[in-house]
Each structure stands twice: as structure tokens, then as C-alpha cells.
Symmetry: C3
Subunit: 203 residues, 3 copies
């Protein structure tokens, strides 16, 4: 197993945790099935939407069963150690940040490999990272994560753009990958710390 594959499984694990947790925080009566369903949709939503938009079959989690078991493990761990996990909220936000940074560039690369233009690949990268959370929020009648005040999805889009610029400049692939992932992480952490926001649309 390559390092990247291990990271993808880890990212899936943390997305499943965040989905299972988010639902239960809102509805204390949430049962195991509801939490598991939400965790599952959060983990597979972004990649599935990307592949369905691009017509790339089979979807990743359908072709490789390890993702499903990783998701189940994430949900079970969250449920068994609920109080402990809920206390780690801050740490989990960090994992969410690692997850979206990683999946943005993974998704951008996948789209590129299917032959779409760079502009489309950047959108697909961002979708991979954030649309699982958007679908989760639509399911639970929340205002979607991407309308949050601090910079979130836009960090993904900028990171994807950075990757594509390096790709265009023929920068070595692993270097580009790591730099772009790091860029998203740093930008997102700065945004949360200093409460950075984009300009308002309405003036």
C-alpha cells in the first residue's frame, strides 16, 4: 500500500467520524443507524458526485470494499468512544482540515487523469472535498458547510489552482501534491485562527 492510499483511507475514516458525530450532536435521540447513514454519506458523497459528474465507473467505494470497512470502523469507533471523541472536537476539526486538503488534490488529479480541462479539474477537486459535507447538511436540514463564514471551500479551490499551476509548470508530481495539500491546510488553519473571511457579495 502506498502512503497516499493509506492517507485516503485515513481521510475516509475521519470524514465518517465527522458525519456520525455531526448528526448526533444535533439530535440527541439519534440512533446507530441514523448516525451510520450520515457518516457513510459524508464519507462517500464528494467522491461519488465527482465520479457521477465525470461518468467514471465504478465509483471508488463500490470498486474497492476497503473504503466501506474503513467507514464502518470510523462510525463504530465514534459510537463506542462517544464522550471521548466529542471532547476531541478541536482535534477532529484538524482532521477534517487534513481530509479536505488531501481529497481536494486527490480529486483534482483523478479528474485530470480523465482528460478534463484544468478549470473543471479544480472544481472536481473542491467537490470531492466538500460535497460530502454539503449532502450531509442537506439531509439534516442544516445550512451547508460551504456557506460558513470562515474560508473553507475557497481554500480547497485555491489549493487545487496552485496544484494545477505547478502541474502546468511541470513541477515534480509528489512535490506539487505535498505543497498544494500543505497550502490548503495552512490557509484553512489561518482562516480559523484569524477569523479570515472573503469579501461580502452584497454591498
Amino acid at each position: 500500500m502506498s502512503i497516499q492510499y493509506i492517507l485516503e483511507l485515513l481521510g475516509t475514516f475521519f470524514f465518517a467520524m465527522s458525519g456520525a458525530l455531526a448528526m448526533s450532536e444535533r439530535d440527541q435521540e439519534q440512533d446507530w443507524f441514523g448516525a451510520a447513514f450520515t457518516g457513510f454519506v459524508t464519507a462517500i458523497g464528494g467522491g461519488s458526485l465527482r465520479d457521477m459528474l465525470l461518468g467514471s465507473y465504478p465509483l471508488v467505494w463500490i470498486g474497492n470494499i476497503q473504503f466501506l470497512y474503513t467507514i464502518l470502523l470510523g462510525i463504530i469507533c465514534t459510537g463506542l468512544f462517544y464522550k471521548w471523541v466529542a471532547k476531541l472536537r478541536r482535534t477532529l476539526q484538524l482532521f477534517d482540515t487534513l481530509g479536505i486538503a488531501l481529497f481536494t488534490i486527490v480529486g483534482t488529479e483523478k479528474a485530470l487523469s480523465l482528460g478534463v480541462r484544468p478549470e473543471i479539474a479544480a472544481i472536481m477537486g473542491m467537490f470531492t472535498a466538500v460535497m460530502g459535507g454539503v449532502i450531509r447538511d442537506m439531509l439534516t436540514n442544516e445550512v451547508p458547510v460551504l456557506f460558513r463564514k470562515e474560508i473553507y471551500s475557497s481554500a480547497c479551490l485555491l489549493g487545487a489552482a496552485l496544484y494545477l499551476i505547478m502541474y502546468g509548470l511541470d513541477v515534480e508530481r509528489n512535490t506539487s501534491f505535498l505543497l498544494a495539500v500543505a497550502f490548503i491546510i495552512v490557509l484553512r488553519l489561518l482562516a480559523v485562527k484569524y477569523n479570515l473571511t472573503l469579501p461580502k457579495f452584497r454591498r
Copy 2:
């Protein structure tokens, strides 16, 4: 026409009814178009999502026009006999139960026939049964049906698992089909009668 095909059309008919009815119960001003749209989406949503996730084209209702006319018939009957149908709410819940039980196993079989692993087939079976209702609830800003207190989607998942176990043990197909459908129906009826719930996720 095989018995199973007739049952599938019947299930589609009842799903369309339940969709048209659900919308109108919430919004008394609902017009015919809104009710029809909701009935239509409820009836085709689950199977369409399954086929789009699996990349199996054409979608069932696009390839076979009889489903569309069955849906229209369900909507028209609901509208013409609204008061009568609304009184039959309890009976309709029974039909909903028959519908989800049937479509769970139909969906599981279809996914299996497309070559996916049994774990994925079980998820696809459950999606076939319940995602029409989930989409209906997202459209109408309701908390989705699968977060309901009593056992609902989980009964579908368990029924699909039972079918797959019998499939693995080479049980004759019609026997497996009927047993799994009956299992879901009985489990769901017991859940409603005795208010059975799954354990809470949060402790």
C-alpha cells in the same frame, strides 16, 4: 407478465400515492403539479439513485414507459379520491411496508447481477427502497424518513443481508426472495406495533 413484475408496478403505484399524499398533508394549498412531482420523485428516486451509482443505463423508468403510467395512475387516483385515500392512511402504511420490502430485494438482486460485492448490493437494496422517500423529504424540507424513531431503513438492510446469506448458501432463488421480503415486512410491522427502536448512538 411475471408475478414479480406486477408486484413492482404495484409497489411503484403505492410509492407514487404516498409521495402525492405526503406533500399535500403538509401543505393544504398544494396544487396538482406539486403533488404529482413529489409522487413521481418518491416513486423513481431510489431506483434511479441505485442505477446512477452503479452506472447502469438506461434507468428502469426511462427504459420502460409502463412505470411512468403507473405513477401517473397512482397520482390521479390519490387526487380524485383524496378524502377516501387520506382516511386509509393506516392501510397505506402497510402498502409502504410492502413496497420497501419488495424493492429492497429487487434492488439487491439488480446490484448483484451487475457484479458488485454482497456488502455493496445490500446498501443498494436499501437505497432502492428508501432513497425516494429521502429525496421527497429533502425537497419538502422535512427531516428524512430514515431518521425516524422506529426501525425502518435498518429493517431493509437486515432483510437484504438475510437474502445475501441465503444466496451464499445456494438457497433456491424464489424461496430466498419470499423469505427476505417477508422478514422485512414482519420486522417493520413489529417495530411499529411495539415501538421498537435501535440503541441510541450518543451515550
Copy 3:
């Protein structure tokens, strides 16, 4: 570039504007990214859903980058001239009407060209026109546009039916196209002016 292609780009432009505007009207704190995302989804949602339901790849905006830049232009114009655009609300409603009329028939033709039956083509035409707005409303937790009181989606469906009748009667294509588009526009304008509604479903 054909006249029809220019009209399609124009329709996309106005859909992007209406999406960017709708979000910001509801949430004054909306940032540029949120408005752009909503505008983007509104513009591509209907056509993307149609093509994903029909299994027709690549999606229009993925295969032709001009749509993406048209959307960006629509969003940027909306943001730069926000007050001016917001005042033009009434005029914009007119553009929305032009947009749905045009895309209904464009979508109907595309579905027909992929070999589906006319009944399915009419549904696909309506989906092309209105589902971008439905997805926008689901994202922002609004009751979807198609449950609005005045005739809206039903005008699209009737227009598609009219086109298909003329298609069946071998009426010359451009004539059919223009008549059906005009029919939807007039029906929608009359509906708004005279507050025309469909019969209630519940009696």
C-alpha cells in the same frame, strides 16, 4: 456560432445571475464564494441532472468550457453591480422566464436525440429548465421553486408537450422550437400577471 448557441449561453448567464442574487437576498452576510457556488449550481444543475439521468457524457459544461466562463461572468457582473441588478428584479424575472422556456425545449430535443420516448423527453426538458433552481433551493433550505403558487414548471411541461406534438406532426424544426418557446413565455407571463394557478390537489 448559431443563434441557438448564443441564446443558450445567454440563458446560462441569467441563471447564474439569478442564483447568485437569490442567495444574497436571503443572507446579507453571504460572501463571494457562497454566491458564486449558488450561481454555478443554479446554472448547471438542470442540464447536469438530465444528462446524468440519461447517462449522456460528458456533461455539457464539462465538455465545453465556454459555459463555465459564461457563469463566472454572470456572477461577477451580479456582484460588481449588485444594487443596480437587485433593482432590476422585475426585468430579471423576465430573463428567468426566457431561460426556462429556452432550456425546456433544448432539453427536450437533447433527450429525444438520445432516443428516449416523447413522454420521457418532456420530463427531461422540464428538468433541464427547473431542477437547477430546485437544487439551489434545497441547498439554501428554501421550499423549492416548483411548489410556487403560480404556474411555473407546469408551463415548461406543457411547452415540451406542444413541441413534441409538432415534432410528431413533422412541423419544421425551427418553427416548432420558436412556437414552443414562445408558448412557455406567454403562459408564464399570463400566469404571473393574472395570478393563474392550477387546481388544488386536496379537496
